[in-house]
Every structure is written in C-alpha cells, then in structure tokens.
C-alpha cells in the first residue's frame, strides 16, 4: 500500500543522477518549509519502523535450543541489535526536535506491519532474526558505495533469490537525507524566519533522555586519565550511541541531521561501528555458527507480523496476507496490553514536546519530567510484555512443549496519536488508557493459573505502579480543573 505521502513524491529525485534537480522533487502546491516538514515526517516514520523492526528481531533471539557454547554470542547479538534500535529511537527523537524547531507537528505515526515504503527496499516486517532478515538489514543499512566483494555479492544474490527481493527503484533513506539537507542548507528556500529557536526548551535533550544509555555522539570516555591503568574506553558495539540533539538554529539542525544520517552507514567516530558494520558482523558470525541448513536456530520461532486482528479487520498494512493472527485467548490479552502500553509510550513521548522542560525555577521539576520518566517506564513494560509474548502460545492447542509455537509483540498502532487540544484532556486520555489496562489485567488475573506465577507477579507489580501513576494523574487533573475553574 502506498503511504499517505506517496502521491506527493512522484517527482522525488533519483539519486543515481549525479546532480540533484533544482526543485528537489517539490510538488508545486508545497512551500519549501512545508515540503521539508513532510520529508522530516517521512523520515520519522522510517526511523520508527526500523526501531520496532529491530526490537522484534532482537526479542526473537534465544530459546532453550541454543547450545550453551553459543549463548554468549547470541546474547551479544541481542544487545547489539537492541543498541541499534535505541539509536533509531534517538534518530526519531532528534527528527522531532528538528520538526519542532521548524514549527511542525510532532510525528510518531507509522503504518502497521507489514508496510511497504517507497524509501525502504523491503517491506517493513516484524520477523525473527534469520539469515535472510539479517541480509535485509545489512543491505538496507549499507552505504551506497558498499562493495566488499564477497559479502556484497553473496547478500545481494541471497536476497534476489529470496522471497522478498529488494525493490528495483527505491528512494533510499540516504537520498531522503540528501534532499532534506539540500533544502535546509539553502537560505533562499528556508529563511531564518522559518526557525523558531524559542522551541528549544520544548525539545528533547541528551542529558535528560539518554544520559545513561550511551554517550553523546563522538564523545569518548576519558577514564584513561585516571591512575596508572591505561584504560582506553571506546564506544562498545553493544552500547548505544544515542544521538539526541536539541536544535536552535539552521546550523544546529544541519549538524544534528548529518549525525543521524551518518550513524547508519558511516559514523564520524573511528571507534564507533555503524549499523551496517554491526549487522554485517552478526551476519558473518550467524552464517558460521548457524548455517542455513543447521537444524538448530538461534531464535524462537516468532510469527511474522503478529496481529490480534484477522485479515479483514486490519486497518492498514499492505501485505496483510503475510501477517499472523494470534488466536490464543490469553496471548491476545497480553498483546492487547502490549499495544496499550505502546500507545502510552507514544503518547507520553509526544506529550513531552508540548511540555516545556522545567525552565521555571520557581516551579521546579514538574509535569515534563514526570511524563518523560513515564515514557521510560513504558519502554520497560514493552520489554517485559514482549518477553512474555515470546513465551506464550500463538494459538490454542500450542500450550505443550511438543506443539509450542510462540506469539510475539504486536506493536500495533493506536487509532490516533494526536494529542487532544486541551491540556486537561491529555491527562484524561491517560486515565482512560490506564483504565483499559486495568480491565485486561483483571481478565488475565482470572485466567492465569499457578504455572504462570511469574506473569501474575509481574501483573501485580504493574498494577501497583499504575495505581501510583493514577494517584499522580488525579493530582494533576485536579490542579488543571482548579486552574480552569479559576480562569472561568
């Protein structure tokens, strides 16, 4: 299915031509600012889709069948892919900062999987980490000039003869960034009036968002200064190098987007490995230790594009035939809970851009920080429920060891991510989502049994923490109601 942007991209430049066309594919009815915002919106969707795709691949790794001597390696693969996913999240957030600076609308939207996108050579799909899916990631993250003869040929051949060969005429993400930067760098297209530096305080900053999940891009830890142990610390491939850059000027924005563009293919720092290199390294190890014909796999056989809807009910996704419906009633509920928490995460994320950081020293730490930390909490919930889903049966009758086939995290998009216009309504919306979670939990409490003690414990803890969050929400809602009544 073509994306909502497709009709506006008919003239998007073909990057195989050396020279970019003068109008950079801008349709006549767009202003340059508007066109730039649309392209940023497209990129945000791609970053989001990549992040989720990689998360799913990482969560698929493991299972009791992995031989003990290979577990350390498989665990390292998982950490590496999770670090790449975190970096994609950094990209997503930095792009939101850029959109905010330009006065655009925060964009956390994407389509459900599978999603065939004109800027990606394959449909975005949720699938386990197989040699084939790895080959796709390597191919998609490869720099244009990639020609490491052996692996390039092998991977291209493999994909060409596989079920989803790369599209012939794809508008690459690299091309998208080239176009974005070309527009941005031209003061005749984007004028100084198009930037809104006063939004800086509303943007995400590294110190608050990723201070403990990596280091600012390019910064090297300098522990070698300490004492006699010369300890050269460099960005470890399993540690995310999360780029989250608030931007106040054209130059800030150019630099931030260049960093984002480079991280996938060719990072600036010599000690950091690109996404492409990290995936390629995993591919090489994977091929050696779990060759195509090996009966032992390093992953759990998660379904491709799991969904709680049947095909007719699917709202989006252009290859609905390749999705897999979860039919086990308990797993459906877990997937519903997963999707609700995913909605919470995306809503909290979107909301942070509306709330100024605590710039008013008289008010102290307030809603901004609370909403931001709630976003982190939901990331941890997604991690937990993903794990539960990968241990839960896909269909009824798959409960026992012999027939077991796992479900997987669904990552289905909510009907809307648009925040209500009034601040009070935003808070009320959270309360609705928490209430829906409570209902699902109640159902699960009724149906889970003793063997599911770990899941029951988790639900109790979740309920416990949700109740605290609701207590906080009630206080904030009351404050807003009071403020509104005083205004009126």
């Amino acid at each position: 299915m073509a994306s909502q942007h497709s009709k506006h991209l008919l003239n998007f430049p073909d990057m195989r031509n050396e020279k970019l066309p003068i109008n950079l594919g801008k349709p006549g009815q767009f202003t340059w600012r508007d066109y730039l915002l649309m392209l940023l919106d497209i990129d945000a969707g791609i970053e989001h889709a990549l992040m989720v795709q990689y998360l799913y691949a990482a969560y698929s790794l493991g299972g009791p069948q992995v031989p003990p001597d290979k577990r350390e390696m498989v665990r390292r693969w998982q950490q590496t892919i999770l670090s790449i996913a975190k970096e994609e999240m950094g990209h997503l957030i930095t792009v939101q900062n850029a959109i905010t600076l330009m006065g655009g609308v925060i964009s956390m939207e994407r389509n459900d999987y599978p999603w065939d996108h004109e800027f990606y050579p394959f449909p975005f799909e949720l699938e386990p980490l197989t040699l084939n899916s790895l080959a796709k990631y390597v191919y998609a993250e490869a720099p244009e000039e990639w020609n490491e003869a052996h692996y390039c040929r092998e991977i291209c051949d493999k994909l060409q003869h596989g079920p989803t060969p790369p599209k012939d005429k794809v508008k690459s993400v690299g091309a998208l960034f080239k176009t974005i930067l070309a527009i941005l760098k031209d003061p005749n297209r984007i004028t100084e009036d198009d930037f809104h530096p006063e939004t800086y305080a509303y943007q995400a900053e590294w110190a608050a968002w990723s201070c403990n999940h990596g280091m600012p891009s390019g910064e090297q830890a300098s522990n070698q200064l300490q004492g006699s142990k010369s300890k050269t610390v460099k960005t470890c491939p399993t540690t995310a190098d999360v780029i989250i850059v608030p931007v106040a000027t054209r130059d800030d924005m150019i630099e931030a987007l260049e960093q984002v563009a480079e991280q996938g293919e060719a990072p600036k720092s010599a000690t950091e490995e690109s996404h492409f290199h990290r995936f390629l390294k995993i591919y090489q190890e994977y091929k050696q230790h779990f060759p195509e014909n090996s009966p032992i796999k390093p992953y759990k056989a998660l379904p491709v594009n799991p969904t709680t809807f049947d095909h007719i009910q699917q709202q989006s996704g252009d290859l609905s035939g390749t999705s897999t419906q979860i039919t086990h009633p308990i797993s459906i509920k877990w997937a519903n809970l997963f999707d609700l928490r995913y909605r919470l995460l995306l809503t909290f994320l979107t909301h942070t851009f509306r709330l100024a950081r605590g710039v008013n020293a008289n008010n102290g730490a307030g809603n901004y920080q609370a909403v931001m930390h709630n976003a982190f909490k939901e990331m941890y919930n997604l991690k937990s429920i993903s794990d539960i889903l990968t241990r839960s049966p896909l269909h009824t009758g798959m409960d026992n060891e012999d027939t077991f086939r796992p479900a997987g995290p669904t990552f289905q998009m909510p009907y809307s991510l648009e925040l209500p216009a009034s601040e009070l309504s935003c808070w009320l919306q959270y309360r609705d989502i928490f209430a829906a979670c409570k209902e699902i939990r109640a159902w699960l409490f009724d149906w889970l049994d003793e063997k599911d003690q770990q899941q029951i414990n988790y639900l109790h803890a979740m309920e416990n923490i949700d109740n605290e969050t609701l207590h906080w929400l009630d206080t904030v809602i009351e404050a807003h109601k009071l403020a509104r009544s005083m205004r009126s």
Partner: protein, 759 residues
C-alpha cells in the same frame, strides 16, 4: 558425639540506642505479593521477654500483624540483640551445627564464662592521645545478673566519692537457660544515646567567628553535671583540639561538636576547636569460654557488636550494606557461576535502591535551584566543587527529575524483573574505579547523588555489580535459576553471615547497616581495611602509611600506590588512587580536576572495593608499590616513574577468623570500628544530608504528588510538618539544629513507617 568447636552467631550484632526501659520487639518486614512495590509492612514477630532480675526468658510475645511501637512515649526503645552460641557437633563422621544448650554442656561437662571488651575511640581518633581511649571490660561472667558495661578513660574525672566517672555503654546479661529456652545466649542492651561533656575550660578558645544560627545559641547547651566526664585540664578535647590535617584527620574533617561556626564549616573553611563532647556509642568483642571440670578453657568463640543510632525508616534497606561488603570478602568480587546467579538477588539490590531513593529529595540533591533560590544544600554537587573545584552544575539536566518519578522508574525496573527480565542496566552502574569521574556522564551513573567511603560518588561492590551483570542472564534461553543460601551448617559461612538470631529484629543484622560509606552510621567500616597487609597500618580513608611494624618501619610515612594481583590469569597492577576528572572550565573537554592542595586531582579509592581481589591471597605475599618519598601533605598518582617508587612484598591478612565470619581481631580492636564517626553521633544527623544513608536517616518524608506534577513533602529534620520541604541550611531555624539533637533527639526524630511520620 564429639564437640569440635563453638561459634557465636550472629558474628556481628548491631544494637541501637534508646532510653526506654523496654527493648524493641522483634519484627519482620513483609512484602505484599499483591502490592510488591509498596512500603513493606512491619509486623511484630515472636519476641523473647527477659526478666532482667533473674536473667530468664519468661515469656514469648506472639507474632502480630501490627508493627511494634518504636517509641515508648518520647523515649526510643533500644534494640538489644541476643548473641547465640552454636556447637559444631560431629556424629558418625558428619558435622552439624546445633544450638549450644544446657544438655550439651552437661553432656560434655563444660561451664560457661563470658568476657566483654568495648571501646569508644572517637576522641582518641582525633587527638591520637592513648589516654583519650574510652574502654570498658567485663570478665568472667558466669552468672545471670545484668552487668553495666561502663567505659573509662584516664582523662575522665572522678565523682564526688572519688571514684572514676565513666560513660555507660549499656548492659550485658548472660541469659539464664531454662526448660523452654535451654540455649546459651547473651544479650547486649546499648546505652541511651546521651551526650557527655567536659569540665569547663579556664579559657574559652579563641574562635574565628561565633556560630550564627537562629534561635537559641549553640553554646547554650547544658550538659547535666552527672554527664560531665572529661577532664579538660588533662586532655585536649575541650577547646584545645582542632582538626588540621586532611590526611591524618577523619574524612570528612571536623566531625565533632565544635566551638565557633557550625561544624559544617570545619571541613570546608576554618576548622573549629572541639567542644569536648562524647557519646555512649561503642563497638566491642564478646568472648565465650567453655571450661572443663579442671577449669581449663576447652573451647572459645568470639563475636563483635556495636551500638549505634536507630534506623528511622525500619521498613527500608540501604542499597549497599555491610553485608554486601562482607559477602564480597567471603565469596569474592566476582560471581562464581554466572549462569546460576538468581535474578532475585539482583532484584533485591534494585528494591533496596528504590527504598533508598524514595527518601531522597532528588531535585534538591541534583543541585537544582529551589523555588527560585540558589541551592546551597550539602550535596554531592557542592562537594564536587568544594573538594575538587568542579564547576557547580546540577548532576542530571536541571529540573529533569523528581523523587516520585525516579522512584517509580526504579520500581519499573523491579517490575520488569518480576516478569523474568534480567537486568539490562549494567552499563549504567558506576564502576568502583570511576568514583572520581565527575564528567556529566560519570556523575550520572548509578547509584547517583550519594557518597561512598571515599567521599566521592558511591559505587556498589564489585560483587553487586557482577551480580547485576549476570543474574538471570540465561532467561532468554529459558533458564531461571533460583536463590539458594542453604542450611545453617558448620561450613556454610554464607548462611552464618545471613543468620539473624532468634528474637533479634532485622535492624540488629548487618544487612540493616549502611555499607562502606562516609563515614557510616553503625560503623566507620572504612576502619576495617587499614591493616589488610600484615605489618602496616594505613589511614582508613587514605593511602598514607600511618604505622609500621619494625620489619617495615621504613614504609611509615610513604604512600601505597598500587599492588600486583593475579586477575583473570594475568598479573595486573592495581592502583589504589585515581585522578579526578571533569569538564574543563569552558565545558568543551575533559581534564583532570586540580586544586592548589591537590594539583594532580588525586583521589584515594575506598578500601573495600580496592582490596576486593586480595583476600583470596590471604597468607600470601603481594608485591606492593610505595612512594619513595615520604609525603604527608602531598598526594601523587600511582603511575610515578620507576625511580620514584619502592616495592615491598607484603602478606595479605586473613579477613575472617579461621572458619568463621568473625572479622579478624587483628584488623580492628574494640573501639576502632566506630572511631571515625561523629562525636557525638547526633552531629552526624545534622552534618550530613541524606546522601549517605537515606534509608536509615531519611531526608524527604510524607511525600505526595504535587499539583505541578512533581512531589511535595517535608524535610525529615523540619520541626513543623508543612508539606513544603525546607532546604538544608545550617542557619535555618525551621530545621532541628545541633542543640535540639543533643538534648532531645529521641522526641524530635520521627520514625517513618510507610514513608509517613509514625507518630
């Protein structure tokens, strides 16, 4: 049946002071499986009631769903631990650990004798005058009377009857075995937590500036005549002693009641002369001897004890406790079998982390301005600037955190672990050699905003860190190992370490004691490492060689720089100091943090982690590197040129007494494990804001969500509860001040149950 040896358990018991006649009941801290993140519930557990006249356990108070009363009107109920004696019995070639009781004594025809030694070396630690040691000794106790454990000092005055005055350290009673309770046990009841004073000085010290505090002047404290014990003419403690050497003094300097400015200024500006105050805290060693019919000692065993302030948040535990430090010595800094480390062990650390965090006002400790006012509270942010000249700057992004949201974030980690997710935040933990990394990234590592034993950022023990790295790591492959400490047996020393004792409440156990912190609360636990190498004594917080035996006399006055140790099959040079680093003045690069006094920005690392890898080499010699130059007031990094270093092979001491979890007597004599603490201890509750041990001495209480989305609550030290936190300020009379604490601490300090004032 053969009696091979006897053991006292717990090998280290903590008593907690209070003036009520009724010792605190035993209790359990239970977590509700349906609300696992709530404050844990305190429920009274079976409690022995002792008739102090007869020495017998006359009654057992049953368990109850209600918590015990921690106060008896305005008097705090003391925590009085029992020390139990166990016998290692061999039968049919197998050893087992059984409570030593009257039947066994009769069977082996043995009689019991107890000896007790205790000390309060706080004044001695400062003045280094042997006559300032306050010591107590009881010998040959074989009856069941309650004996006063009184501390004497050559510098104490005599009473009106011409008898030497003393400080009551508490009472000792050999519990009389009876039919219901035939076991052999001893009970220690601590002192009341009173402040003792000195005789007036003929000439008041010439202080730089009188103390400026609102309300009643600090100098207005009146110690009742019966508690005036120290002779100001004989010793220096009243007005004639001032800390003046950062190497030799305690860390921090000036941890004593002082004349002149508030003691806070002792360690940041001009040290002030001591006011001559002492307290009734102590630590000591209890010995039991079993004598045969000829009166010869056939068996003996020892245990340590201390008396310390109460834990005021008894439903919470600190993120790093003395048990963590001792486990590291006992079991090593690395997890033996990484695949079998149970997730619940790491989960326990996370629980303790949020039990600590929720009592800290994180926004204030972050260094954020508060309600528009600059924040000059005593925080790590302030310490970084004061000690190492780092730019004053909040640790995390300003206003980016609040106690409620960060507590919830920690709780979410715990929640994820409930689902079987192994910890994924190893990279976020501060490694023990990164404590002086004051870059933004370094300061933001976990645990954040708290001080360790080196007065720099707290790190967990290597073993805790390794546990978080490995616990439950194979969950992705379907393996979920379970925790198993095992039974109490003669050889299972981990079980010995975990043993609490019958009727002993949890706050008697070492896992209730804040770990290797600066200076500590129950112990100055830094003091236990200073004799790790046979032949030399190091300063507890510094690499300076304070004393040396004749064989190593030449080492005195030098600094230990590093030692060689085998790790991962290789010989590694292990430095004991690091260089502090932080942002340059313009914030564009990282550089060493230098001050005039410390041009290389040298930081001595805390001993517990620094020495963690040596203990498996006990009895062996390690190659140690010292400065060639003797240097007291100069510090250098470990990577000196070879011609400025001398080497010496030194033997590693056994940390524990053979086959037990008793800390080797050679490491610390009675009085040494508490010597670096404040004198009096009440000072510490005023000196240090919460960032040493919030879960014992809370900072932020009665916390609720605030309408602005953050939190609101009270400073625990606030006299009037308003829900509006008063930022720590030595001149703000809304807070309990030194005088209040010295005179009325039991009434003023409020226990916290469920995060709320309990009374």
């Amino acid at each position: 049946m053969k009696l091979n040896k006897i053991v006292i358990l717990p090998a280290m018991a903590i008593a907690r002071m209070g003036s009520s006649e009724k010792p605190l009941d035993n209790y359990e801290i239970k977590h509700d499986p349906k609300a696992p993140l709530d404050f844990r519930k305190i429920k009274r557990a079976e409690t022995f009631i002792v008739d102090t006249q007869t020495g017998e356990i006359t009654e057992t108070l049953p368990a109850s769903d209600e918590p015990p009363n921690f106060k008896d009107n305005n008097k705090i109920r003391p925590v009085a631990p029992f020390l139990e004696v166990f016998a290692v019995i061999e039968e049919n070639g197998e050893e087992k650990l059984s409570p030593l009781d009257t039947h066994l004594l009769k069977h082996f025809s043995l009689a019991v004798k107890w000896h007790v030694k205790a000390g309060n070396y706080k004044v001695y630690r400062r003045t280094t005058d042997e006559n300032d040691k306050v010591t107590a000794e009881l010998t040959d106790i074989s009856d069941h009377k309650q004996y006063a454990l009184n501390g004497y000092s050559p510098h104490f005055i005599k009473d009106e009857n011409g008898l030497p005055k003393s400080i009551p350290f508490g009472k000792i009673q050999f519990i009389k075995p009876n039919k219901t309770h035939p076991e052999i046990r001893l009970r220690y009841t601590p002192g009341k937590g009173l402040v003792y004073g000195s005789t007036p000085t003929k000439e008041l010290p010439n202080v730089f500036q009188p103390q400026e505090m609102g309300g009643v002047a600090y100098s207005g404290i009146e110690i009742p005549p019966e508690r005036i014990v120290y002779d100001s003419e004989k010793g220096l403690w009243n007005g004639k002693y001032t800390d003046n050497d950062s190497t030799l003094n305690t860390l921090a300097q000036g941890l004593y009641a002082a004349y002149g400015k508030a003691p806070y200024f002792n360690y940041y500006q001009e040290p002030q002369p001591a006011r001559g105050y002492l307290d009734d805290a102590c630590d000591g060693i209890i010995t039991i001897e079993l004598t045969d019919q000829a009166g010869h000692v056939a068996y003996s065993a020892k245990a340590r004890f201390c008396s310390s302030p109460p834990i005021f948040a008894p439903d919470s535990e600190f993120v790093r406790t003395v048990q963590d430090d001792l486990e590291q010595v006992l079991l090593g800094p690395d997890i033996e079998n990484q695949q079998s480390a149970a997730l619940s062990l790491a989960q326990d650390i996370v629980r303790r982390a949020y039990e600590t965090v929720r009592f800290m006002n994180l926004s204030v400790l972050n260094g954020d301005p508060v309600k528009g006012r600059p924040n000059h509270a005593d925080t790590m942010v302030g310490n970084d600037s004061e000690d190492l000249g780092r730019a004053f700057q909040p640790i995390m992004a300003p206003h980016s955190l609040d106690t409620l949201s960060i507590t919830a974030l920690h709780q979410q980690l715990y929640t994820a672990m409930e689902a079987g997710i192994p910890p994924w935040f190893y990279d976020l933990l501060r490694k023990p050699d990164e404590v002086a990394d004051l870059t933004d990234k370094g300061r933001r590592k976990m645990p954040a905003m708290m001080s360790g034993a080196d007065a720099r950022y707290l790190a967990l023990t290597y073993r805790q860190i390794d546990l978080i790295k490995n616990a439950g790591k194979d969950a992705m492959f379907g393996d979920f190992p379970v925790e198993n400490t095992g039974q109490l047996t003669p050889k299972n020393l981990t079980a010995h370490l975990h043993y609490r004792g019958q009727s002993n409440p949890p706050n008697t156990h070492i896992n209730s004691s804040v770990g290797n912190c600066c200076p500590g609360l129950e112990f100055d636990f830094r003091s236990v490492w200073k004799r790790a190498f046979v032949g030399i004594t190091l300063v507890e917080h510094d690499n300076y060689v304070l004393q040396a035996d004749a064989e190593y006399a030449d080492l005195q006055g030098r600094r230990l720089l590093s030692f060689d140790i085998e790790k991962d099959g290789e010989i590694t040079n292990w430095p004991v100091v690091v260089q502090a680093i932080g942002p340059s003045a313009d914030g564009t690069s990282t550089e060493p943090l230098r001050t005039d006094d410390n041009p290389d920005g040298v930081v001595s690392l805390e001993w517990s982690n620094t020495l963690a890898y040596i203990w498996k080499h006990a009895g062996q010699k390690l190659k140690c590197y010292f400065t060639k130059e003797k240097m007291l007031n100069k510090q250098v990094l470990a990577n000196l040129p070879a011609d400025q270093i001398i080497t010496k092979e030194l033997e590693v001491r056994n940390f524990f007494e053979e086959g037990s979890t008793l800390i080797n007597e050679a490491l610390a004599e009675p009085g040494e494990l508490t010597q670096g603490l404040c004198s009096p201890w009440q000072n510490d509750f005023r000196e240090c804001v919460c960032y040493y041990w919030a879960s014992s001495r809370p900072d932020y209480v009665n916390v609720e969500p605030a309408p602005n989305g953050g939190s609101q609550g009270d400073n625990w030290m606030q006299k009037k509860r308003t829900g509006q936190y008063v930022v720590d300020d030595y001149k703000d009379n809304r807070l309990i001040n030194y005088q209040d604490l010295f005179m009325d601490w039991e009434a003023l300090l409020k226990f916290q149950i469920g995060g709320r004032d309990a009374e």
